[in-house]
Amino acid sequence: MGSLISGIIGRTLAYSVPLLLATLGEIYVERAGVLNLGIEGMMSLGALVAFAVAFSFSNPWFGVVAGGMAAGGAALLHALCSITLRANQVVSGLSLGMLGMGISGVLGRNFEGKVLGATLPVYRMPFLSSLPGFEKHNVFVYLSLGLAVFLWFVLFRTRWGIVIRSVGENPAACDAMGINVSTVRYTCVVFGGVLAGLAGAYLSLGYRPSWSYGMTGGIGWLSIALTIFAFWNPLWGLVGAYLFGLLYQLSFRFQAHVSPELLNTLPYVFPLIALSFVSRLAARKRIGPPASLGVPYKRE
């Protein structure tokens, strides 16, 4: 029983990493008032570039850096369209997603089926490894967990966090106070892209060390839903990502006893059910989307 539980926890942690990273990134993007629907494409691009670079240089860390940078660069395109050009963010995000999937698919042809020499290392953490399910993990597992806490702290306990949230709520007031709205938004959008790229790098260098088109498998889309599920709070993002990962795990563990199709829908239905309980509460406490989400800002 103990090994069963620690096994489930361990797999949940490993599976949820890309979902968590992408969600954390999107939370920051949306907190600053920009919606980016192109996560799947950025993640795919990050996964390919990370793999290609790691493969060519036989060093996974080069790959991680390159994957993050590539996706960050792609996000820059979205930032340009949605912040400077003030284009519709839904469409700009969708087109970014298409480009990301398309470019990674076409450029990635030569890397399909290649075997990676060096993958991301697995560590035992001194204190954590005594907990069930934490025995040993890819470094990204710890990184994403710590990042969630850190990003929560930054967002709600530091001046930077106040600036980011204010830009998403009332950019005009921020502007009047001398905050450069564009800079804050650009930074957050690119940061979100980098995290999506790192999520991709984890997939292609750690979780399943290889590249093939479609390996992101809809994680980017889910992270958009999880961002809302998390009420734009990194800690709830952590809960949401792990909850989804747990349900996904259970769908395989209990297949012998419950219909697989029903189990397959659980990860998608359960967040809705959970949300229906908490969202009314949240509405009363006035936790909604950032007021200026999706609205381009222009000085009056």
């Binding site: 090994s3 069963l4 096994g7 797999r11 599976y15 698919g105 990635g108 042809r109 399909e112 089926g113 075997v115 979780y207 399943r208 060390p209 290889s210 093939s212 088109y213 479609g214 390996m215 498998g217 994680i219 996904y248 795990q249 395989f252 563990r253 297949q255 012998a256 219909s259 697989p260 199709e261 397959n264």
Partner: protein, 388 residues
Amino acid sequence: MKRLVVALLICAVFLWFVVSGNAEEGKLKVGFIYVGPVGDFGWSYAHDQARQIVEATYPWIETVYVEAVPEGEVEGVIDRLINQEGVDIVVTTSFGFMDGTLAAAQRYPDKIFFHCSGFKRAPNMATYMADFHQVYYLNGIIAGALTKTNKLGYVGAFPIPELKRHINAFTLGARRVNPNAQVLVRWLQTSWYDPAGAKEAAESLIAEGADVLAFTEDSPTVVQVAAEHGLPSFGHYSPMYKFAPDFVVSGQLVHWEAIYLDFFAKVYAGLYTSKNLENVDYWWLLREGAVELGADFGMPINPVFEERLKSTIVNDPVYGEISVYDLVFALLKAMADPEYAFSPFTGPIRDRKGNLRVPEGVRLTMDELITMEWAAEGIVGAWPGEPE
């Protein structure tokens, strides 16, 4: 408004500039239609490898291919292949293309159609399939000998007869040398290509004690997961030896080109025409060379495991005292025999509910094989569509 009309006119004139393409004369032109991308390292990849071999082998053939065609769009793609590219033979490589291919065959009675894994034929439409059940049986024998926990894991994409037949063969093989062996099954039920699902399914099998893995999914994920845990596994469809050289024991490899080379040659020779394909159905197995046992081409069993399999002696009902290694090759020879000397589905075989599915001495026919729904004794796990 006037400017709008002018703009529209300019567009129209621009479009008139298009002219139609033309096909090369003198060669037999074949168009291949794949359901997945050619780089997916599974089904479509294997068909495309075969296409390249065909083109390299026969100087009188020219091929084109279209990848990732949605099942409902196949008719349109066939139209374009015939009208735009001028192909003479259309090869459609997915069961879901069946009705569209048949409709096109009726619309183009002079063209020849070749459909994989279906059962509908026409005077100008033949069918073909290379099946793995014999190879799975041999994989099962090896797996049954290698397991220490007596639990084998199997990740399957969809619970359809093809996979059920393969898992049954795998189980029968395993229990031939290890009567206590169980096969734990996990289904993905999402897509033929789902690496994340395959990974978590494989992990859950390992967590339940499975120490040898086999699978049907279009990526080497399960092989990689098994290797991470230091467990042996079997490749599927493509040579997966290189993904885990110390852990891939064997696997199933396909040679679609065996079928293609035969069929196209007969068309070229005038033996097969658009009038006489009504009963042409290739169901090719080991003896025809359409499938191969191996971790890689030409490597039936990974040398890493050779010693272990040679030193494992079993008491076989047919061959008596024999090493597993020799048993595998003896059966391989028997199944490659032109007389079809041995079939894994020779009775008596009971399903896991105790029903006698194959009576003593009876051998299942091809029709019974391709409609198989029951689960053999020793299979554990969900089995959608299991008959009472």
